[in-house]
Symmetry: C2
Subunit: 554 residues, 2 copies
Amino acid sequence: MAKPKNILFIMFDQLRWDYLSCYGHPHLQTPHIDKLASKGVRFDRAYIQSPLCGPSRMSTYTGRYVHSHGASWNNVPLKVGERTMGDYLRDLGMGCWLVGKTHMMADAEGMARLGLEPDSVIGARVSECGFDVFERDDGMRPEGPDGFYDDRGALKYNEYLHSRGYEGNNPWHDYANSANDGAGNVLSGWFLENSDKPANIIEYDSETPYLTRRGMAFIDAQGDAPWCCHLSYIKPHWPYIVPAPYHAMYGPEHFLPVVRSEEERATDHPVFGGMMKAPVGQAFSQNHVREKALRVYMGLIKQCDDQMGVLFDWLEQTGRMEDTMIVVTSDHGDYLGDHWLGEKTFCHDTSVKVPMIVYDPSAEADPMRGTVSNALVQLIDLAPTFVEVAGGDASRLDHVLEGKSLFPLLRGQGQSRDHAFCEYDFSMTPLSKKLDLDTAESRLFMVTDGRFKLIEFGGGIRPMLFDMREDPDELVDLGQSEDHAEVIVRLSDVLGTWAKRPAQRTTISNKTLVQTRSNRSTKGVILGAVKEADVDADLVAKYTGRMAPPVQET
Amino acid sequence: MAKPKNILFIMFDQLRWDYLSCYGHPHLQTPHIDKLASKGVRFDRAYIQSPLCGPSRMSTYTGRYVHSHGASWNNVPLKVGERTMGDYLRDLGMGCWLVGKTHMMADAEGMARLGLEPDSVIGARVSECGFDVFERDDGMRPEGPDGFYDDRGALKYNEYLHSRGYEGNNPWHDYANSANDGAGNVLSGWFLENSDKPANIIEYDSETPYLTRRGMAFIDAQGDAPWCCHLSYIKPHWPYIVPAPYHAMYGPEHFLPVVRSEEERATDHPVFGGMMKAPVGQAFSQNHVREKALRVYMGLIKQCDDQMGVLFDWLEQTGRMEDTMIVVTSDHGDYLGDHWLGEKTFCHDTSVKVPMIVYDPSAEADPMRGTVSNALVQLIDLAPTFVEVAGGDASRLDHVLEGKSLFPLLRGQGQSRDHAFCEYDFSMTPLSKKLDLDTAESRLFMVTDGRFKLIEFGGGIRPMLFDMREDPDELVDLGQSEDHAEVIVRLSDVLGTWAKRPAQRTTISNKTLVQTRSNRSTKGVILGAVKEADVDADLVAKYTGRMAPPVQET
């Protein structure tokens, strides 16, 4: 089966599945992404593994559930020893490079324990989630009284801005993520009231076009060897601000109606209700806040799509469209006021379902071009897919990689998986304190079979259930419905079996385990044999016919 | 609280909990171990984490469940990155040394991936399960047509035997583990018909006394610095053969009656029944096989106890009895025909409950001397206990260590844990092939609350349940009892919660997680704020009052 030579793995950040015209948004036209969808397969039910940047990405990069790799929240280090797509692809002779964001926090303690120097080749890769780094840019340079959120965030981008004449110690904030009152006063993009003003930056210099050019610079520098480029954008993630002309393209007439109900707001569920009552939920439940943010959110997406146009045109011109698999996806969605929530960190499709488009230039993919797959897929399916692009056999890694290659689906031959899983660990958040949950209890697990979606909680908190066929907006929580008791037990059992999976049995392949079942013991361990004749002669040849004089006590 | 200075961690291999006189054996007198029990706390319900040498030990050494560390069977490597008691104790300034067996298989692939050289200090420790090695002796040098079971097994012991005049390429087999027909013909200890003959070796030179002397040599060489010595015997593990006079001390009049029933034999349970039908079960279900093995098994234990006498006397003389915690335990039991089974690898107490005696020389332990604790404890509780001996705070490691320090129980203040857990992975065995189970399904999980014991299986196989109060011999499988449906659901839920535990969130402590809940965001990330006044002024100082001239497109 022919495979593409290279991989361009494009990830947006906080891009909702339904804010692209190919996914049905009636007013936000994204022709460039749509065009890629028309040439590839658009997955309609792609689930992330955790509704937060860090854990979601660590799952995507490792091909493993959060419950398996343990990097449960932003800036919880990914432990030394967890392999990522970078490790697998390099083993197969494909370079694997980062241009943009990973949200990776290195396991400095684990590295020190094993004597790994951060500036060694191996240490650098372990620090960078297995990628070689063309440019790391987590896209964020927030600064508070205790310093920068991330010492390295947007460093190169700030250098770029300085070189372009932007001033100050943090032009990322003062220009790229702020507006200007015309008199030079910075109107920070952190305050939502400023969202509808244009960012104080030439559009060309803003983050999304900058990163597009960095991606093209990377690809342009590649020779004949195959490569995977993780081109990883920060946008349309907050701060919610965008340069002209994108700041003024959208208004209320373009917004999707808010999805929420008074019944939801009255929920007795401590976690769902607690999230509504948190500041972010409270903010985005206000229409004027939602509407300010939506204008910009849509503008940011429009800018992203325009940049995809720039990128795809360039790939056409350079011939890369013919030998490169292109994936466009996101790390999670954005509530934007739906269900009385903001941000992500809960399990409605708004948050946990993402766009995923896979374009495969191979002739074998021709029959599937422009099709929509409604198979349940997970973001952890990308790592094994990429392994297969690089010429590997992902089934030989299925003791580590918990996703499944998408190739059967890409070739129209695959079956949907039975279930998709997602988790969220809120043990570091104020909500866990408010609910007096310990650090093991402050976690939730989601499973869906495509129709129903069960969310289980720790600490004796009751489950939630949605019937996504009868209630596609997920407004009716059936977690206490007696009519659905059997569904809840069934999906809970699925979660139980999932939780018991041998995710840590990573030092021996399933193929080896199966082979061993049929092996005779040929290395001398003989169990349950009464006499020589009970055992094949060759197996005990070293134990028979031997001479050893009787020993005398001296 | 005063703590002992050193730790002598003695582990026997395959020692049943009920084959010591302090645990009630009426005919096998073990006065030396009993004496230790009279000076320490004898735990009556100590559970291992897997009924097989390798995974059980990897759990004990790491302080983590098999489901957490993944070394699921003998010779499945313990992955790079898993820490063990050696790592924790050294961090606290206590040396941690091995004298004897671990069954550790190094993760050569993982080490190569991280550039760890096996002969570097760090690499050697990673290879040896975190121990520094005084003498590694897994006690086994079986040899078959495809070579030795373990290239390194008993190498030093064979050297020792050579130095003592024993001949041939494998005196471990020909002398220590074989008898002699008087004419120099080796009668291999691998054949059970030879079990009741004396091993062809001077008792002084046999494995148990040899290893005792190696342990004393280690301790003797220690200076003032605190140490932990893992003195880890292979016996009473097979081959079932023992030198004179121990070979002839016990006969049928000393045997415990076999524990089995015809109802058991007629079980419809595919895993339990399948194990009965396997060659080892078939062999040990024959009385004459059982009786040959029992003679020797008891003789081996008697020899072990006599060696404990030698060791403890020497510790008294050298003053080490006053500053050293001593633990005596085992890695699992031995069915010896009970329940129609041989070996271990299933979940009756015969197999999964082990003797555990903890002697603490501290004055604070005085009130508890000679007491019996019937608290549920697990072998993974030893690692955190040792951390506390070394002066650490095990609760600060509870994001990695899944056991709990025994100190509260040792001081008469602790509560029993609610549940103990055990697992067995038989995916490499012929039974999994016979039952056509895949490598995820070929696993079983046991949970007990002290009264009931539930065993769950993969592949849709029904659970088993024992009521250990009403049926202490575990002869009646209640897995299909409608009267016990609620118990089964309750314990199954406990297993489900256990399986979801955050065992891999090892790069951040629970204390840090809890602290973070209360932290304000002081590094500049501002969510849900509409205007400046919505946020504490200090948090947004970097975003306000800034000047940046309006940008002009050039």
